[in-house]
C-alpha cells in the first residue's frame, strides 16, 4: 500500500515521524514530496537563523533519517497535478506516482495584500529560510545608509517577531497595522496599549489604523503611502499580513475547498475525495485555519490513526486550543482560551500597572468556578499554570484574583501547583505528552531530570513552551519524594554553602584541590569552583589571583567579559567622588586605548572594549594614576553610593560623602555570596537611593538609620530598618556583624534581600543577632571582618606586578598575534558589531 504525503513542512514531517514509529509501518510504502530543497525544518524557530545562518540547527530530520526510516523523500519537487479518480499525481518534473492514500500537507503562503508596488526591490515575506536569506542580504546592503529603516506590515504574532529581528540587525524599525490595535486577535484594547508602550521603549515605532495604498519608489522601495494621506520612509518592507492556505492543487483536482480558501476537512481530516486527507495549515476544519504547530501535529496524529485504522486513532476535538505565548520580542505576551468573552457569560479580573507596563486579565465563568481564558502582557510568568488550569477545566481557588496577583499577606499557594494537575493534563501539546506519562517515567526511575524526560518523550522539542512546567514537575516530584531536601552545591560537594564554609574553616583547607580530596568527590565543575573561591576569599581574604583557575571568567581575568569577548574596566571611585586630575587620567587612558566610555549607574566610569592583552597595560596606567580595582567583575562590594550631603546641600544632616567613602574603603575587595552595594544619604529625601541597596544609611537628626537587605534589579525590595538612630562608629560595628553573618550563612549567588526572605524570623531575628547579640557571636563576627579588612590587597596591582600572573592575559599561547575583532561606530565612540 502506498501512502503519499505532499508537503515536507513541519506537519508533513510530523506525519512521517509518527509513521516511522507506528507498529504497522511495514505494510506501507511512504513517499513524501517537498517543494523546498531542504528536508523539513523548524519554522517556529526560524528567526534564530538571523543570529547564526545555520540551517542545520533548524533541521527537523536529515536525509539519512528518512533513508533509515525507509521513507522516500523527494525534495525540490513540486506536485502539479492530481487525479483523484485514478489516484495519480504528477510533478513538475513530469514524474507520475500512484497512491492508495494521499495526505495533503501543503501548508500556507504569506498573504500579500493587493497593494501596488509589491514587486519592488526590498519587499519581502517571512516564511522560509530563503526569505530570511534574502532579507539578510538586503539588510546588509542598506545598513550602511544613514538612518536605514525597515517597516513591517502587520502587527500580529509573526509581524512582531520579524520586527524584533530587523531591530536586532541594527535597522530602525516601524510596524504598521491595519487594525486599531496590535495583535487584534489575541489582545484587548488595554493589553494592546500596554504592549505598544513596551515596544516603544524597545525603540520600535508602532502605527495603527494604517491602510497602505502604495509601496512607492523607483525600482526599490523608498516609502509607503497610506489612505489617510500620510507616508512613512522605508528602505525595506516585510509583509506579514496573515497566511493563505495552499489549496491550489486540491482546488484544481476538484476537492472541496472553503469559500475563503483552505481544503475542507472533517474530524478525521478526510477531504471530499476518497482516501485523501489534509493536515496542517492547508486544512480548513470547523471553518478555521490554524496557524500553529500544535493543532497541526494533532492533525498528523489523527490522520495517521485513520489511515492505519487504529482502534484508538481518535478524532479532532471540537474546540482547538489557540493559546499562544509570543517569543523573542523582549517583553512577555501571552493569551489563552477565550480572550474576549461575552459579558453575560464571564466576569474579568484585571491587574493593570501602567507605569510598570504590566497588564493581566483573566476571564472567569459567572459562577466563579472556571477559568475561561485570559491575556498577559509584560509579565507572563503565570502563563503555563493558567493555561493548564484552563485546559484541564480545574476548579479555581476561592480568591481567583490570587492567580494573577499572588497571595498577598501570609500563607497559601495561589491556585494550583503543578502537582495538583490531573494526570490526563497534557503538558506538551506539540508532542501530546501528559502529566501522567511524565510522572510514571519519573516514578519508575526511567527519567530523573528534564533532559531525560525530553529524551524519553520528545516533550519540549516543539515550540518549547512547556519547558518551565517540565522543570517544575521534576523539582516538585523530587521534593515530594523527599529526594532533594537540601540545597547542596553540586555533585562534587554534598553540602550547603554554609556547611562547606564551616568545614573549610574547621579543617583549615586552603586550596580547591585539597577541598575535593578531603571533603568532596570527583573532579569539580563550574558550580563548585566559584563557590569555593568565594569561601576562600571570605575566610582567608584570598584575592582572585592565587587560584585563578577556579574563578568565574570575570574574576579570572579581573574584568567583565562583554558581548564580543572584550572586557570592561571599572576603577574604584569611592563614594562617587573624583578629582579633576583623576578624571583626566581616566580620560587619557580611555582615549589611548580607544575605549567606549560611560558613566555607570553606580557613580563611576566604565571603559568598554579592552582586549584581553590590553588589560594589564591599562591597569598599569590607572594604578600609576592612583586608582585601584573597582571589583565590578566580582561577587563582592561594588559601590557605596552617596549624595552630596551637608557638604553642599542645604538639607544635609551629615557629610554623607565622607561617610560613604569611609565605608567603601572599609569593605572594598570584600567577596561575598553575591555582589554587595551600599548607599549613604544625607537626609530623608534619600537622593542616594540607600534603601535600594544591600545596606543603606540615612542621616537623621540624631545620627544614622541603618537599613539592610534592599535590592534593585529585577525584583526591587526596599531595605528594612536594622538599627537607628546610631552614631557612625556603631553603624560600622553593626555593619561588620551584619555583613559577616551574611557572608557566613547565605547560599551561593543569594543576595541579601533573598537571603533575608529565607531567614526564619526575618528582620526581627536578624536584629536580635546583630544588635542584641542573642547568639553571642557579635565579637567573633567583628574580629573576623576586621581580619578581612586588614587582609585587603588590590588584586590588579598583584596581577600586573607578577609576570606569572600576567601571562594569563595573552590571547594565544603560540603566537603574539591579537584576536581579530569587529567594531562599528556609535555616536562619537564605538561598539561591538551586532550579533
Amino acid at each position: 500500500m502506498q501512502i503519499v504525503v505532499i508537503g515536507n513542512g513541519m506537519v508533513g514531517h510530523k506525519f512521517c515521524d509518527l509513521f516511522s514509529r507506528h507498529p504497522r509501518r511495514g505494510e506501507f510504502q511512504l513517499t513524501v514530496f517537498g517543494e523546498e530543497r531542504r528536508p523539513a525544518y523548524d519554522r517556529v524557530h526560524l528567526s534564530a537563523y538571523f543570529s547564526d545562518r545555520d540551517a542545520d540547527k533548524l533541521a527537523l530530520a536529515s536525509r539519512e533519517w528518512y533513508a533509515e526510516a525507509g521513507i522516500t523523500l523527494r525534495t525540490g519537487e513540486l506536485v502539479t497535478e492530481l487525479d483523484t479518480e485514478r489516484r495519480e499525481l504528477t510533478t513538475h518534473l513530469g514524474n507520475v506516482l500512484r497512491y492508495d492514500y494521499l495526505v495533503l500537507a501543503t501548508g500556507s503562503v504569506p498573504f500579500v495584500p493587493p497593494v501596488p508596488g509589491c514587486e519592488k526591490q526590498g519587499v519581502f515575506v517571512y516564511r522560509t529560510i530563503e526569505d530570511l536569506e534574502a532579507i539578510m542580504d538586503y539588510a546588509d546592503k542598506i545598513r550602511d545608509k544613514a538612518g536605514a529603516r525597515s517597516v513591517i506590515m502587520g502587527g500580529g504574532l509573526l509581524g512582531l517577531e520579524a520586527a524584533k529581528a530587523t531591530l536586532d540587525m541594527g535597522l530602525a524599525t516601524d510596524v504598521i497595522e491595519f487594525a486599531p490595535r496590535l495583535m487584534p486577535r489575541q489582545l484587548d484594547e488595554a493589553g494592546a496599549t500596554t504592549l505598544k508602550n513596551k515596544l516603544a521603549d524597545l525603540g520600535l515605532g508602532v502605527h495603527l489604523s494604517k491602510s497602505t495604498t502604495a509601496i512607492a519608489g523607483n525600482g526599490a522601495i523608498t516609502h509607503l503611502e497610506f489612505s489617510d494621506e500620510t507616508s512613512l520612509p522605508a528602505d525595506m518592507l516585510i509583509i506579514s499580513a496573515g497566511i493563505r492556505p495552499r489549496d491550489e492543487l486540491a482546488r484544481k483536482a476538484g476537492i472541496e475547498v472553503g469559500p475563503r480558501g483552505g481544503i475542507m476537512a472533517d474530524e478525521y481530516l478526510r477531504t471530499s475525495a476518497p482516501d485523501v486527507y489534509v493536515i496542517g495549515e492547508a486544512a480548513l476544519y470547523r471553518e478555521m485555519i490554524y496557524g500553529l504547530v500544535a493543532p497541526g501535529y494533532d492533525m498528523a496524529r489523527v490522520a495517521l490513526g485513520s489511515i492505519m485504522a487504529d482502534a484508538d486513532g481518535g478524532c479532532m476535538p471540537e474546540a482547538i486550543d489557540l493559546s499562544t505565548k509570543l517569543k523573542l520580542i523582549g517583553t512577555d505576551v501571552a493569551s489563552f482560551g477565550e480572550c474576549f468573552p461575552n459579558a453575560d457569560e464571564a466576569r474579568s479580573i484585571v491587574f493593570h500597572d501602567e507605569s510598570g507596563g504590566i497588564y493581566k486579565r483573566i476571564n472567569i465563568s459567572r459562577d466563579g468556578k472556571r477559568l475561561l481564558g485570559g491575556i498577559l502582557v509584560g509579565d507572563a510568568a503565570d502563563y503555563n499554570m493558567l493555561h493548564q488550569i484552563y485546559k484541564n477545566n480545574m476548579a479555581l481557588p476561592p480568591q481567583p484574583e490570587d492567580l494573577i496577583l499572588g497571595t498577598r499577606g501570609v500563607g497559601g499557594n495561589p491556585g494550583a501547583g503543578v502537582l495538583d494537575l490531573p494526570d490526563a493534563a497534557v503538558i506538551c501539546s506539540c508532542e501530546n505528552v501528559s502529566k501522567g506519562t511524565l510522572c510514571s517515567l519519573l516514578s519508575e526511575g526511567e527519567a530523573a531530570s528534564v533532559k531525560e524526560l525530553v529524551a524519553c518523550t520528545g516533550a519540549g522539542t516543539g515550540c518549547g513552551g512547556c519547558k518551565p512546567i517540565l522543570t517544575d514537575l521534576v523539582e516538585n516530584y523530587m521534593k515530594s519524594q523527599g529526594k532533594v531536601v537540601r540545597n547542596t552545591i553540586c555533585e562534587h560537594f554534598a553540602y550547603t554553602r554554609q556547611e562547606l564554609r564551616d568545614l573549610v574553616q574547621m579543617k583549615n583547607i586552603r586550596t580547591y584541590d585539597e577541598a575535593l580530596d578531603v571533603i568532596g568527590q570527583g573532579n569539580g565543575c563550574e558550580t563548585c569552583k566559584p563557590a569555593l573561591a568565594s569561601i576562600f576569599a571570605t575566610v582567608y581574604a584570598e584575592t582572585a589571583n592565587p587560584q585563578a583557575q577556579i574563578q568565574d571568567t570575570n574574576d579570572r581575568f579581573l574584568a567583565n567579559i562583554q558581548r564580543n569577548g572584550t572586557y570592561s574596566v571599572v576603577p574604584r571611585v569611592p563614594g562617587g567622588e573624583i578629582s579633576p586630575d583623576k578624571l583626566l587620567a581616566i580620560g587619557s587612558v580611555a582615549k589611548k586605548y580607544d575605549l567606549y566610555t560611560k558613566i555607570t549607574g553606580g557613580q563611576r566610569i566604565d571603559l568598554f572594549g579592552a582586549r584581553l592583552e590590553e588589560l594589564p597595560l591599562i591597569w598599569e596606567e590607572l594604578i600609576a594614576a592612583g586608582f585601584e580595582s573597582g571589583h565590578a567583575y566580582g561577587k563582592s562590594l561594588r559601590t557605596v553610593k552617596s549624595c552630596v550631603g551637608s557638604t553642599w546641600c542645604r538639607y544635609g544632616m551629615d557629610e554623607s560623602v565622607s561617610f560613604a567613602i569611609e565605608i567603601e574603603e572599609r569593605y572594598k575587595g570584600l567577596r561575598s555570596p553575591h555582589k554587595l552595594k551600599g548607599g549613604v544619604s544625607g537626609c530623608i529625601r534619600e537622593c542616594a537611593e540607600a534603601r535600594g541597596k544591600d545596606f543603606g544609611l540615612i542621616a537623621v537628626e540624631e545620627g544614622y538609620n541603618l537599613y539592610v537587605c534592599g535590592n534593585g534589579g529585577a525584583r526591587p525590595v526596599h531595605a528594612q530598618l536594622l538599627a537607628g538612630p546610631v552614631d557612625r562608629a556603631t553603624a560600622v560595628r553593626y555593619l561588620d556583624r551584619f555583613l559577616m553573618f551574611y557572608l557566613r550563612t547565605a547560599g551561593p549567588l543569594i543576595r541579601t534581600a533573598k537571603w533575608l526572605e529565607g531567614l526564619e524570623g526575618g528582620i526581627d531575628y536578624l536584629k536580635s543577632v546583630v544588635v542584641d547579640d542573642v547568639l553571642g557571636i557579635a565579637e567573633e563576627l567583628e574580629t573576623e571582618m576586621q581580619g578581612l579588612v586588614d587582609g585587603y590587597a588590590c588584586e590588579w596591582k598583584q596581577a600586573i606586578e607578577d609576570p606569572a600572573l600576567r601571562a594569563r592575559f595573552r590571547p594565544f599561547v603560540n603566537t603574539d598575534e591579537s584576536e581579530e575583532l569587529e567594531f562599528v561606530a556609535l555616536r562619537d565612540q564605538k561598539m561591538p558589531k551586532p550579533w
Partner: protein, 121 residues
C-alpha cells in the same frame, strides 16, 4: 562554524606543536592559533588529561570557550562557556545543558614536555 570539524585520532595527519606544557594553565584552558582557527586547549590536572576543542562557542559565535571554567559532569569532562554557561563535553563536543550544536573536539598528546594538537589538514 564550518571551519571546525571533530577530528578522530585515526584521521590525524598533522600533530601541531601548540606549546610547552608549562605555558598552559593548570586546571583551566588557554587558546592557540592553528592557521586561522582558534583552538582551546585544556589541562585537567586531577586526571592528568589534556583536551582541545574549537574556541568558538556555537551559541553566540564568540571566541571564548578557552576562557571558561572546566569540570566534569557524571564523569564527562566539560567546559562551561563564560558567556552564558552552556556546557560542552570535551569528549564528544556535545552541548550537555541545552540544544546548541556540538563543538568540534581534537585529540591532544604530550611528548617531551610539548603539547601537540591533532588536525586532519
Amino acid at each position: 562554524m564550518t571551519a571546525y570539524t571533530t577530528t578522530p585520532l585515526t584521521d590525524v595527519t598533522t600533530w601541531f606543536r601548540a606549546g610547552r606544557t608549562d605555558q598552559f594553565p593548570v586546571g583551566a584552558g588557554a587558546v592557540i592559533k592553528y592557521r586561522d582557527r582558534q583552538i582551546a586547549v585544556f589541562y585537567f590536572n586531577r586526571t592528568e588529561r589534556w583536551y582541545a576543542c574549537q574556541n568558538l562557542c556555537p551559541h553566540k559565535l564568540e571566541n571564548v570557550l578557552g576562557r571558561g571554567l572546566i569540570g566534569e559532569q557524571d564523569g564527562i569532562p566539560k567546559v562551561a562557556c563564560p558567556m552564558h554557561k552552556r556546557t560542552f563535553s570535551l569528549e564528544t563536543g556535545e552541548n550537555l545543558n541545552g540544544d546548541c550544536p556540538p563543538v568540534a573536539v581534537y585529540p591532544v598528546k604530550v611528548e617531551n614536555d610539548y603539547v601537540y594538537v591533532g588536525f586532519a589538514d
